[in-house]
């Protein structure tokens, strides 16, 4: 309204927020204290009287006030900055704002204020929250997507012009959307990295559609607990929202709250925040502790304007300027009977946040206290059905308990639509509350309670493997904890949330004892290594593969087949590692490959190899071929071709259609390496013909076939033929959102056009290449630098010197970022 509230208004506000009902509706000049006194007695009676519960629907204003808690103090500058960034976002200059600070410093409070202001000013607000305890990957995004498609989800999808391709990936991230959007055909399987980017792009496209309709505020709370999948999407969106990104137009402000110096419980978003800083994607607003003047203002909001300066000083001294601690002290003071409000010395005020929270809880009836402890065990957020089942409380009694807890500002209802499941969701109003409650349980009791919680969740939500792993670990039930942690790892891996997958595998492995079979530990280590490989973390993958190898040292047939498989994987990984490295750094991969190669060549020559599983034998041959081509120093082109030929012959003669395309691809690479370019054209043509037979059933194979055929024709100077295949590949990759294939196809097409002197169509590729570069990390779009360099050449030949220089600088910067200074580059890079 643009005016400062009067004393009476402030006092009334404080009463309402405390949950007091004003005794009289008069505006006596000094009526604040008398009204407060009378109202406090009324509030205490209301809280202590079971069943005397006011219906939520009759006090909507109280709810609104309660949701805002106390007035926002000491955050004018930060709020103003947030509002300015919002204005920029409305104009299409998207940004990320990170609000950071210690626990209780008021990050959520400030965020709520921003959310309220944005809503009141015509913006759309979407909120996701991260939690410390066992949550599924992408849980905050699932919340947000649920809010986007709330109500008639299909109508929303139509209105936003979202294709079934995008919706299918949205359902993958948020399975609960299936009940709203209905059954959707799954998207084509791609290489893991391409699928990951496609998922990210799906969220980005949904966000773009929403923000085109209405400028949007995206909030992700407690991002220090975010899983790697959520962080990946956040980073991708931040890049997309940058001004100047072609086709972005995201009228989006993302607000992330982040707790500084978090404990070991927290995930590690530091790499993401570091990316934000280096790419200037985000602005950070650190929140400082309150000054003594600000504390006085906050205290006045709770205790009235006439609180004594000595009391304020005492509170400030104890709380050290932390707003949450300050509020807890104020709440404790308001519960003190007949106090003079001059000094804390004569009051029985606990000295720690934990004690204060417990003191507040312990003022509630015993049944409420116990139920709240059950709720705390379930996590910061919980649903009423699970709480009812685990606490043994019926629905009616639970409703009263939660209403009482709500009036005591310990919990609040989570206002999002129910999607699947009938229970309402609630959350503790601050993360420190459930922590304090759980810590108040003894260890033995915690174990028993976690077991009961696990058994309840197992009955009600058997697919909630993350929660089950969480509870069974704390219940000290090794067998079930290992099983569920393993399932949680598989689930996380399927969603490309690799950090979470590793974490769950490590949890399972840590629980293994000498009584468990070695094969179980070996399996976990191998899966761990496989995931590290997918993340291009070669050293970590190698460590796990070697640890797994040490566990299969016997001469049994089973152990031998495991050893072959592990060595084959290490050899393949070394080839990927080497292919991704410049010459100066290939030695590391070569060192890894040596023992694996020796083991496989020895096995390959033995009789037992002939009897081995055919598919494994073919894979070993492919691994040996790639090793010869990419890892050995110097490369052995002939050996690579020989191994690849044998793999192809074996795959064709045995009808191993699943490995034949890979074998043909490797053979084509070997032939090109041997300068047998015509032979490579034949091989690639054969590969493409096989892929066309599978058609829509396997678009990934078709895409690989088109790219290989395009490159093979390019290598022999048959540019028109190459362009036909590359155009098809680029089109198909766009349709199925395969970013990696799109990037590769675009770059090869650029090369064709350069060599054909078709400068106009070449320069039309400049915008999509730059777009790729902006949207995706350099490590995954490195080849884009060649495309940009080709465009730079054409610009130079047309006399557009500055434009050419800019493009060449872009290409150079990408190369330096990937490979270091030019003296480390391979010869081909210097083109």
């Amino acid at each position: 309204l643009g005016v400062e509230p009067s004393e009476q208004t402030r006092s009334l506000f404080a009463q309402l927020v405390r949950g007091d009902r004003p005794a009289v509706a008069t505006a006596a000049p000094s009526g604040g204290r008398a009204t407060t006194e009378g109202a406090r007695v009324t509030a205490r009676q209301a809280i202590e009287a079971e069943g005397a519960v006011e219906s939520r629907t009759t006090m909507p204003i109280v709810d609104w006030l309660r949701s805002g808690r106390s007035p926002l103090v000491g955050r004018d500058r930060e709020l103003a900055r947030a509002k300015t960034l919002w204005q920029h976002a409305r104009d299409g200059e998207g940004k990320v704002l990170v609000i950071s600070g210690e626990p209780g410093i008021g990050k959520s409070r400030l965020t709520q204020e921003v959310m309220t202001w944005v809503s009141a000013n015509g913006g759309r607000v979407l909120l996701g929250e991260c939690h410390a305890e066992g949550s599924a990957p992408y849980a905050p995004l699932a919340q947000i997507l649920g809010q986007v498609f709330a109500g008639d989800g299909r109508a929303t999808a139509r209105r936003l012009h979202l294709s079934s391709l995008i919706l299918a990936d949205a359902v993958k991230l948020a399975p609960s959307l299936r009940s709203i959007l209905g059954d959707l055909p799954p998207n084509a399987a791609l290489e893991p990295e391409s699928e990951l980017f496609r998922l990210y792009e799906a969220v980005a496209l949904i966000c773009a559609a929403v923000s085109r309709e209405t400028p949007t505020l995206w909030v992700v709370e407690d991002v220090h607990w975010a899983d790697s999948g959520t962080l990946g999407v956040v980073r991708h969106l931040a890049r997309r929202a940058r001004p100047g990104v072609p086709g972005a137009g995201l009228r989006l402000l993302m607000v992330l709250t982040h707790r500084d110096a978090e404990t070991a419980l927290a995930q590690m978003p530091e790499a993401v925040l570091s990316d934000f800083a280096s790419e200037r994607l985000a602005e950070t607003l650190p929140l400082n502790r309150l000054s003594s003047e600000q504390t006085a203002e906050l205290v006045a909001g709770w205790l009235g304007p006439k609180v004594s300066p000595d009391l304020v000083a005492s509170i400030h001294f104890q709380a050290e300027g932390n707003p949450f601690f300050t509020e807890e002290i104020c709440k404790a003071i308001t519960a003190e009977p007949d106090q003079q409000q001059t000094s804390m010395g004569r009051m029985n005020i606990p000295h720690s946040v934990r004690s204060m929270v417990l003191a507040r809880v312990e003022r509630l009836p015993k049944p409420v206290q116990e139920t709240l402890r059950w709720a705390a065990l379930l996590g910061r957020e919980f649903d009423s059905d699970t709480l009812s089942a685990v606490s043994g409380m019926d629905e009616g009694a639970l409703t009263e308990v939660l209403e009482l807890a709500g009036r005591a500002q310990l919990v609040s209802e989570v206002r999002e639509p129910a999607m699947g499941g009938d229970g309402l969701r609630f959350a503790f109003t601050h993360a420190l509350i459930p922590l304090a409650l759980v810590e108040s349980l003894g260890t033995l009791r915690q174990r028993r309670w976690h077991r009961r919680a696990a058994e309840t969740v197992e009955r009600l939500r058997p697919d909630d493997v993350e929660a089950l792993a969480y509870h069974y670990v704390r219940a000290a039930d090794r067998t079930k904890a290992i099983a569920y942690a393993h399932r949680a790892a598989k689930k996380a891996e399927s969603l490309y949330a690799y950090d979470e997958a590793i974490r769950h595998l490590d949890t399972a492995a840590a629980l293994l004892s000498s009584e468990h079979p070695a094969g179980l530990r070996l399996g976990l280590l191998e899966e761990r290594a496989d995931i590290h490989w997918l993340r291009y973390d070669w050293a970590a993958a190698l460590e796990s593969y070697r640890a797994a190898l040490e566990l299969c040292s016997s001469s049994t047939e089973e152990d031998e087949s495991v050893r072959v498989r592990l060595n084959r994987k290490m050899l393949e990984m070394a080839a990927d590692w080497s292919a991704a490295s410049i010459r100066a750094r290939k030695g590391d991969a070569a060192g890894v490959a040596r023992p694996a190669r020796a083991a496989l060549m020895s096995w390959h020559g033995r009789e037992s190899a002939a009897a081995a599983l055919l598919a494994e034998k073919i894979r070993v041959l492919i691994a040996l071929a790639r090793d010869a081509l990419f890892t050995r120093l110097p490369p052995d082109w002939q050996a690579g071709a020989d191994y690849a030929w044998t793999a192809v012959e074996l795959a064709e003669s045995s009808g191993a259609t699943d490995v034949l395309p890979v074998a043909l691809h490797t053979l084509a690479q070997a032939q090109a390496a041997n300068s047998e370019f015509r032979a490579a054209v034949e091989t690639a043509t054969h590969q493409l013909a096989l892929a066309r037979m599978e058609g829509d059933r396997n678009p990934r194979a078709l895409l690989n076939g088109l790219l290989d055929a395009g490159v093979a024709h390019l290598n022999v100077g048959e540019f028109e033929e190459a362009l036909v295949h590359l155009d098809s590949a680029v089109g198909l990759s766009t349709r199925i959102h395969d970013i990696a294939a799109y990037r590769y196809g675009l770059t090869r097409k650029a090369f064709c056009l350069l060599l054909l002197d078709r400068w106009e169509p070449l320069l039309e590729l400049e915008a999509p290449l730059e777009d790729l570069r902006r949207r995706f990390p350099a490590a995954r779009t490195g080849a884009v630098c060649f495309g940009l360099a080709f465009c730079g050449s054409a610009r130079a030949w047309r006399g557009e010197k500055q434009h050419a220089a800019d493009l060449r600088q872009d290409a150079y910067d990408i190369m330096v970022e990937l490979h270091g200074p030019p003296e480390l580059w391979d010869q081909g890079h210097h083109y």
């Binding site: 300068s675 370019f677 540019f719 002197d757």
Partner: protein, 122 residues
């Protein structure tokens, strides 16, 4: 690069390599590059007939492939060879062909060089 810099050693080393590899796999464009490289090297060595023959073979390939910039550059090299005979009227024709192609392509620096060469010929 060796052609552009009139690097005789570089031309001698790479022209043969490129010609051999391109013939092996039937890479017509690279073979044309090799012919042009040989054409420039022969001219630098004072061997004008072989130079003209090689450059004409390159022109033939670039015409078939429709690579107009490469064609223009090769006409410019042919003009230099005919100028070296000396045959300024033939050189003028080749420079004019080169200029037309460069202007069509929007190859501003090359077009400027061709115009200057024509101006120098009077």
């Amino acid at each position: 690069m060796a052609v552009h810099q009139r690097d005789r050693d570089g031309l001698a080393r790479y022209a043969a390599l490129v010609e051999g590899e391109s013939r092996r796999c039937g890479h017509r464009l690279y073979e044309a590059f090799a012919h042009r490289a040989w054409g420039v090297l022969h001219r630098l060595e004072g061997e004008l007939d072989p130079s003209e023959a090689r450059l004409q073979r390159a022109i033939s390939t670039f015409q078939r492939m429709g690579t107009r910039w490469q064609l223009g550059r090769t006409y410019a090299e042919l003009a230099e060879t005919t100028l070296a005979r000396p045959d300024p009227s033939a050189a003028k024709v080749h420079f004019e062909r080169a200029l037309a192609l460069f202007e069509e392509m929007g190859a501003v620096p090359n077009a400027a060089n061709a115009r200057q060469a024509l101006a120098d010929l009077g």
